[in-house]
Point group: C2
Chain length 250, copies 2
DNA sequence: CTTGCCGTTTGACGCAGGTCAATCTGAACA
DNA sequence: TGTTCAGATTGACCTGCGTCAAACGGCAAG
């Protein structure tokens, strides 16, 4: 790699690191330090970052695009654990014990990821205890997400789950101004993320359309009145307070 | 408290700490250090350790008994996140951000818990980076558990979930020797842990009894042939490899 | 333009598990 | 010995979602 392209990629790397919640409170010096051993990588749809069982070499931060972390059920079907997007890190849980990645990670939308090698990062942690705390915070984030997923599943009702998913991608705070949401992934992938089959998603969207809660065409969903949708959610006492849909316990 | 009882409780505390997976690799000196500010506490069935929304004062380690960590759904129903037993710690995820406990914790079987106050432990972490790594490992454990719970839910089939639950409490490795399992909690609580209603649990147990997979009377479940049960599990391709039922990703 | 593929939509159907309600069991206590 | 009450069981019913199958739309390669 030429010195020039190296410099360019380094700048991009720094900006990518800065975009990651886990590192957002770090100063330039620390980021520079991490950038020394991290690397920015372009990923295309369908490309695997790692496969279940592979020895863990490090963890990732999504800079753009979307990564589907999933397992394969014994019947051969894909079971999505979570789809990671801009700013989200994944597989940090593999840092402590190097016992192999416990799932597959496959790109479902073109983008860039930062790769952070395990050994070097562990060394850094040893001399930067505050960074460990950030890591802990990040992992508790993930725990929260998962607990919410559990909530969503037991509190069943696909309409509710879809409504929550949509409201999460509306500009916050929620207003009554129409919002147009471009899906960044296929509806089949979205179905996977909601842990339902695509037929069910299709029907649910149709149903919500007839209720005039949303409009949809292709990969675009229009919400005429997000606040109204939120009210509908609360009104039918379908969801727990989805403002604080982000909570969990160890 | 007298000097004597203090000494006794201190010894009990140390032994309790030693029994916790999170601390198992620590030496006596470190444990002693933690014991200085941790405290052992007796809890009775029905007693709450904390409630959702309360400011986080620290986290817990179950020494004996069982603690049900759960939320209350808007319809007023209890939704179990996880039941923590001997050696398991919970609410460590609240360490980084002191934003209040995100769930309720209620004792469902008499026992003892260790309470580890937040501020003091954070101070300790700052000067003991290796302890941070242990914390990270512990949290990734929890992540694994949750991911498995997700797996179990989507891979539905209550019979499977119950069978896995039972096999997990058989002496490892699984043999063909009969095992008798005493439930440490009510069947209603167990139903909550499996995320089903107690009627369904009742029916499922009945069904497995007619299949001669188990016998049951009151709070005791007898498994004539655990290996056979495991085979039945694998045979019907019901579960993912439940040996490695312990895996996950960030 | 045709062909094929992939993702989506729609219909018909089945079933596991939730719900409601009634009954049963057993431990604690008077 | 009876009373009480929480938990467990059992039955009847309902429904949301998975499943199977067929058809449709759009896009890329030939």
């Amino acid at each position: 790699m030429s010195a020039l392209s190296s410099a360019i990629s380094s700048a991009a790397l720094l900006s990518a690191l800065r975009g990651c919640r886990m590192f957002e409170s770090l100063g330039s010096a620390e980021l520079q330090r991490i950038a020394e051993f991290a690397s920015l990588r372009r990923v295309g749809r369908g490309e695997f970052l790692f496969r279940e069982g592979e020895p863990t070499s490090g963890f990732f931060v999504t800079h753009s695009g979307a990564i589907n972390v999933h397992r394969i059920a014994p019947d051969g079907r894909e079971k999505t654990i979570h789809i990671f997007r801009k700013g989200e890190s994944f597989a940090e849980a593999t840092l402590p014990d190097g016992s192999g990645y416990p799932a597959h990670a496959c790109c479902v939308e073109d983008g860039h990821v930062v790769f952070i090698p395990r050994a070097e990062f562990l060394d850094l942690l040893k001399i930067r205890p505050d960074l460990s705390l950030r890591m802990l915070a990040s992992m508790s984030q993930h725990l929260r997400v998962l607990v919410n997923a559990l909530d969503d599943l037991t509190q069943k009702d696909v309409e509710t789950r879809l409504a929550i998913w949509l409201l999460k991608r509306c500009p916050q705070p929620i207003t009554s101004d129409p919002v147009e949401i471009k899906l960044d992934i296929t509806k089949t992938m979205l179905a996977g993320e909601l842990r339902i089959r695509n037929e069910t998603l299709s029907r649910t969207i149709a149903k919500m359309r007839t209720l005039s809660l949303i409009e949809s065409k292709g990969r675009t969903v229009r919400i005429q009145d997000p606040l109204g949708l939120a009210d509908w959610l609360a009104g039918t006492s379908r969801a727990t307070n989805h403002q604080e849909q982000v909570r969990m316990i160890g």
